[in-house]
Symmetry: C3
Subunit: 462 residues, 3 copies
């Protein structure tokens, strides 16, 4: 097979990919990840058991545009005790420590401790997820219920056993070479600790798409990267600047696609770029309503990829988009909230979107441009598998579905319409994506019928 | 007179054209027409009694693009009998026979007969109209009420006295030469038997427009053709390919414009071509609401004319459009359904649309481009026939209708607005059609006032 | 200071301008103005007490395009008496005389008088304002209540002590030279007698904007003109044709902006010219809903400025637009209807609109185009005066307002968004007006932040 996207995706068995994904989701969730730490590397190694990619390491101190890669964070333990009683314990939940906290080990009063405590009064059961990468600080995150119980007169033993050392940003990278050098970037971020939707769901879909594509030969070249958000993307852009500037034409940024809520898409800064259209058509042709988020400068790594120097249009498919669900950046963004079934649905939508991109730019020229083709003589109906009935009686009242050249038969199915439209638009001016938008048929169906018409010498791909 | 479209159409007496049309409608309705048969030629000869056109004959076997002209169908009689009792009789209604049925003459059981019977359960009184041009078959169409009465144990004597012989597609053609070679094609189809709306109404409007134009000298050249649908259009395009490719710029396809329902227009594939706009303005300036049907590859001969090689934008004005009314393609599409008054209304709308095309591309240049003209000194008001009143008192509260240069008089009528707009748009960039769209005045009114301003040396046609 | 529009208009003290305006409003209202008469010159001299401009005089008989400047109207007195009883007296209200009435001095019957009386039955207390500039006539305007009391059998002594003499159109003109020769024309009309909204409110705003700008050095050059409507504008266009044709790019026509009703804007003939956008943004960023009036050939001097030879796009900001309020062109358009506060609001909107024009075409280039800038290291937050809080607890649930590069701090205020957007759009393709439309921030706020980023070498104005 030439290109896996030329197959009917509905007929492919994804069960193996799905099983791997479910296992990875459960194994990755508990790990403590940050922008540079051990948890990231461990996570990549788990993924590598089933998919193939390189790990690029970019050192502390690396200068990239306006930024410098910071030190690695090493944390062994962290707790708050009263006497021997651990009331907050990092080993119970890695969110309890302000991510990138510096070392602390001393006794203090409630008043000293208070400015270092983070909680959410409105969500009394949730531990917030907080970070302080670039400003030295330390702190603990706890639920409001825990906070309320604190004894204002107690002496607290506060310990964060952490240090900062020279280290590396670890970036997973895999190039799937296609027929053309033009690249689609598939990017997810690896820096969040136990957050299931933001963005572990994106990491899992990233691995599924790579798993699907890794031994295939698509039309476009695909650049898969998994990296810490912001600093990782900036460092990577600098590290691969020449290639990306030359080849990368559009990108998907995968995140928050595993929640129970409504689907959504965040548009590219262009708004109606081919990548936007490919996603919209994927939603439409699957009959899925979705929330539309226009491009916003707040978000994920599209902020870097779409910056003036690179200007790569990026799209994100979401299911409970970041910022928009109340569990966001708390301990409630967990495996009760996220389900592998939701992740699978998002994976399929990304595949449909990629199929739309892969097939959407095909252009077919009519070899019978004057008038319609005489379909009857070719027995084109059976050739394309549509049901033919000469029992007109029962559905004869659907008279609007009849065709003047085809009066002797009643056609069911919609392929005859597609035949006629493909012949009509066969002027070399319309690719399948444009035709799809105009007549509201899926790009895959157009491609499938165009193949048949090509075999019958009625169309020719140009 | 130079161009009949420069006259006010509301002041023309169409009674003679209307009387001819009514007579033709009644004479043509009962005839048995098909794509190649005697009924078509007889129909054309009746029309020729009042309007002048040639009859082109294209022979069986003629190769035209992907098609071959089929044989002519000759049918003398057809019936189903039980004993001596004719229970279905072609001579009672020509729809009873599947159009282009082959010969049959034998006895058979109910079970043998059943696959050859066509009826509509949901419309128990209607005989369906069915055809089988390109796949040899035979059959009878009957009402569901007739079908229900059939005796399942009877022996049926079934006869269709038909044969196929070499013959001709008969096409009516008339060219009205205009000032320019650019052509407007006016096309209707002649192949339907006793169907009053589809498309005998179109045939009648076709003859009315030709009747109106036949001794005139319009701006555009008009190509009138009346031909069997699909095969006739394809054969004709092949026969006149060079002329049509060179000269034919837009087309009207006349059909289903005589029903009691709402007006509609089927747009060209361009959607906002001049021909689309000309029709929309005709509706709007007559205050007529209408249904809008976007271009669809299902339809009539616009399928051929708009095919990639020709790409002629076509519009159809409808009153009960094909596919959309329940009587469509049944014996109920008859002279109880269609009225000459409805046909006349459609005829008028086609004339207004043609007038919009004929006058709409005129461009006038202001000869007083700096500031407004001083209208008072020219007594322009009486010159253009508007009522002047210096009894300001009674309607002085309509102060928004006053003009600063005209404070001494209260103008009634809307011609002063037209004067000012024509002077404003007199920059050589706007033709009357564009001005009409912008200010919502009829093209004819703009033309009428522009003539006056031209006489006063305030405008010059370019 | 380079350009006054680079200041925050909300921090400027306009009280002196406002006091002058209020005084002028009260002094100008009672004067009897016309297109050429003493009242116009007196009015200009009052305005000159506080603002500096030249008075251009264009003589009776001056030929300007299609027009000739008419004679000056001199009126001393006018009344209708029965015996010694003055029942209508010009000295009580200058609207009582049809503007430009010719001389009359004789006794007459009710029937003779009747055709010369103007009143409005539907507004029985209002004296209409009527004119007859170009057709010699005489008449009296009176309220319907006055009209009803007239004795049909009385003998009326009718006197209008008026004459026509060679005179001058008097036009106030002031050029404020800017950095570029491209001009914005600020035009108001001076020909209406005691009409407070139409257009004395426009005259007052005209004087306020000139007062504000007169000692400044803006980017554009400003051409202030105050002239009689229509004939004044046409004469002036002819008088300054070469300069205006070369330099004047857009115009504001100031009128009817002092009523109690809703704000409105009349668009330019282009509809989305920079001047239209600048006004819309002024309304939007002040949270003001307004009526939208598309360009119409009826109106004020935009009719002349936008004529084909000049094609200057003009906008009018209105508050009770001409034609649209029932007091229009009657004695009820007075100082009970118009308030200085309304006029002040319109003045401010004109200033915001001008500021949008002045700053809106600035383009800034990002000096850090690859990825985002690292804002933390610059302590950019305090640099731009936004509140920084590390007490995240209380508002942590507003998680959508957090930024991935700024996780250590909670930003209040919206300047961080502006920073990121300005950097994102810093590709040399987007001026501040376009960015303002896209992200719905005021042009002034964009300019203010862009100044800071320029100082930090993150942006450079091009």
């Amino acid at each position: 097979m030439d290109n896996i996207f030329e197959l009917d995706l509905n007929k492919i068995d994804f069960s193996k990919i799905l099983n791997t994904a479910e296992s990875d989701l459960n194994r990755l969730f508990p790990l403590n990840r940050s922008i540079l730490n051990e948890g990231v590397l461990t996570s990549l190694e788990i993924l590598q058991e089933n998919i193939d990619f390189e790990i690029i390491k970019i050192k502390t101190g690396y200068n990239c545009y306006d930024w410098v890669v910071p030190e690695e964070w090493v944390i062994k333990d962290a707790y708050i005790k009263i006497g021997n009683n651990k009331i907050i314990d990092f080993k119970e939940n890695n969110l309890h420590v302000l991510n990138y906290s510096e070392h602390v080990d001393r006794e203090m009063s409630y008043d000293e401790l208070l400015p270092h405590l983070y909680y959410i009064e409105e969500q009394p059961n949730a531990i917030p997820y907080r970070t302080s990468y670039y400003k030295k600080n330390w702190g603990f995150c706890l639920s409001y219920n825990q906070f309320k119980e604190l004894d204002k007169s107690a002496t607290y033993i506060v310990k964060i056993d952490s240090k900062f050392i020279p280290g590396n940003i670890c970036i997973a990278e895999k190039i799937i070479h296609g027929k053309v050098k033009d690249e689609i970037l598939i990017s997810a971020y690896s820096c969040h600790p136990s957050m299931a939707n933001d963005s572990l769901s994106g990491v899992i879909v990233w691995s599924m798409v790579l798993n699907f594509l890794q031994k295939t030969n698509p039309y476009y070249t695909y650049r898969f990267v998994l990296l810490p958000e912001t600093i990782g993307a900036i460092a990577y852009l600098h590290y691969r600047e020449k290639e990306i500037k030359e080849n990368t034409k559009r990108a998907f940024v995968l995140t928050t696609c595993g929640g129970p809520g409504k689907f959504g898409m965040k548009s590219s800064f262009i708004g109606d770029d081919l990548i936007d259209i490919s996603v919209k058509l994927a939603f439409n042709h699957n009959g899925i309503e979705y929330l539309h988020y226009p491009f916003d400068i707040n978000g994920s790594d599209e902020r870097q990829y779409s910056s003036p120097y690179f200007r790569i249009p990026c799209v994100t498919i979401s299911k409970d988009k970041y910022y928009e669900y109340k569990e966001y950046h708390t301990s409630l963004d967990n495996l009760s909230f996220v389900k592998i079934g939701y992740i699978y649905d998002s994976f399929k939508l990304y595949l449909y979107s990629l199929q739309n991109l892969e097939l959407g730019n095909k252009i077919y020229l009519s070899l019978n441009p004057a008038g319609e083709p005489f379909l009857t003589k070719r027995e084109l109906y059976s050739a394309i598998g549509i049901t033919i009935s000469n029992k007109l009686n029962s559905d004869l009242h659907h008279s609007k579905k009849e065709y003047s050249t085809l009066k002797d038969f009643k056609i069911t199915g919609e392929d005859t319409d597609i035949i006629l439209w493909l012949m009509f638009y066969g002027d070399g001016q319309n690719n399948l994506m444009e035709i799809s938008r105009k007549i509201n048929k899926s790009i895959y169906d157009l491609f499938r019928v165009a193949q048949i018409l090509t075999n019958l010498n009625l169309l020719r791909e140009i």
